[in-house]
């Protein structure tokens, strides 16, 4: 038996097919979920993919957060369902308050697409078990609203609790506070990050690296061993 991992398609989701491909390449079974359905089809984990759901109008993630599927995702995430939010998915998770803080426009005011160096700060979450803490990886990043902000208290708390999962190295591409690229919730089942691991799973396409594959093998192992 392999794990079934749902990928939600919102109107305007773009990297949903890519996430499904990454899940398949890792050996799990991708399951398409639709934003208008509350039914999560009994998946073992959920990926909220990148893109511009609802055009990023109002604020990135602000409209999607109120979709029927998110009612179920919010409820089940609180009960321990592993959820990964990539880019727009991360934005939705902060808007849904499953993760603290908020995402704002890049400080340089441009969309940015680059191969980004990151440090894995926490290899204990549901999605990062196949990394080593301190490991340096390259994952592509592409966004308009990637600036992570939270108040000092929240930031200190995140740091103290080891909930900063990824940090930008060498170059902060968007003005994120404390170079934060990704965080997790207290339980470690919900992870959000701006860079796109699903675009670093095959040597032939994208940036030609596979540093993103461990996200998907991590969750697979965790689910199969559970």
């Amino acid at each position: 038996m392999t794990a079934r991992i749902g990928v939600v398609t919102f109107p305007g989701s773009l990297d949903d097919r890519d996430s499904q491909r990454a899940i398949r390449l890792a050996g799990a079974e991708p399951v398409a979920l639709w934003h208008k359905d509350k039914d999560l089809k009994q998946v073992d984990a959920v990926v909220l993919p990148g893109g511009f759901s609802y055009g990023d109008y109002l604020r990135a993630g602000a409209i999607s957060r109120f979709s029927p599927v998110m009612e179920s995702v919010i409820e089940q995430a609180k009960a321990g369902l592993p959820v990964l939010g990539i880019c727009n998915g991360f934005q939705i998770l902060t808007e849904a308050h499953l993760l603290p803080g908020a995402m704002l426009g890049n400080d340089h005011l441009h969309f940015i697409c680059r191969d980004q160096k990151l440090r894995v700060e926490n290899a204990e979450t549901s999605w990062t078990g196949d990394y080593r803490a301190g490991q340096e990886i390259h994952i592509p990043l592409k966004n308009m609203d990637g600036r992570y902000v939270a108040d000092e208290y929240t930031l200190d708390k995140l740091e103290a609790e080891g909930r900063v999962v990824f940090r930008y190295l060498d170059f902060n591409p968007n003005g994120s506070l404390r170079d934060i690229a990704g965080i997790t919730n207290e339980a470690g089942n919900v992870v959000g990050l701006m860079p796109h691991p699903e675009h670093a799973v095959e040597p032939l396409v994208g940036t030609g690296r596979t540093d993103g594959l461990p996200f998907f093998t991590s969750i697979l192992k965790k689910l199969v061993n559970a």
């Binding site: 109002l58 604020r59 602000a62 109120f66 902060t94 808007e95 603290p100 803080g101 908020a102 704002l104 426009g105 890049n106 400080d107 340089h108 005011l109 902000v149 939270a150 108040d151 003005g175």
Partner: protein, 87 residues
């Protein structure tokens, strides 16, 4: 029909690069004497029916839960006097 305006601004402690970009450009355009610029959003809502206190309260809820993200933004809600007066 009445118009309600919701203004949403970043909280003062949050960096506002758009406002800064405008401010930085001012000297180049020959503008002196503006010490700070902040850029926010303005929503104009056309409300069917009278805008009584109950309606305003509902719009305040809407602003709080949806139009603004209160983690980073403040908002104000008011009836658009100009649009009212023009009636």
């Amino acid at each position: 029909m009445a118009r309600v305006v919701v203004d949403v601004m970043l909280k003062p402690e949050i960096l506002d690069p758009q406002g800064q970009a405008v401010q930085r450009a001012l000297p180049r355009l020959g503008f002196e004497g503006i010490s700070d610029v902040r850029q926010g959003k303005r929503f104009e809502l056309e409300v069917d029916g009278p805008v009584d206190d109950a309606a305003l309260a509902r719009i305040r809820d809407l602003a709080e839960s949806f139009l603004a993200n209160t983690v980073i933004e403040d908002f104000t809600v008011r009836i658009d006097e100009v649009a009212e007066a023009a009636k």
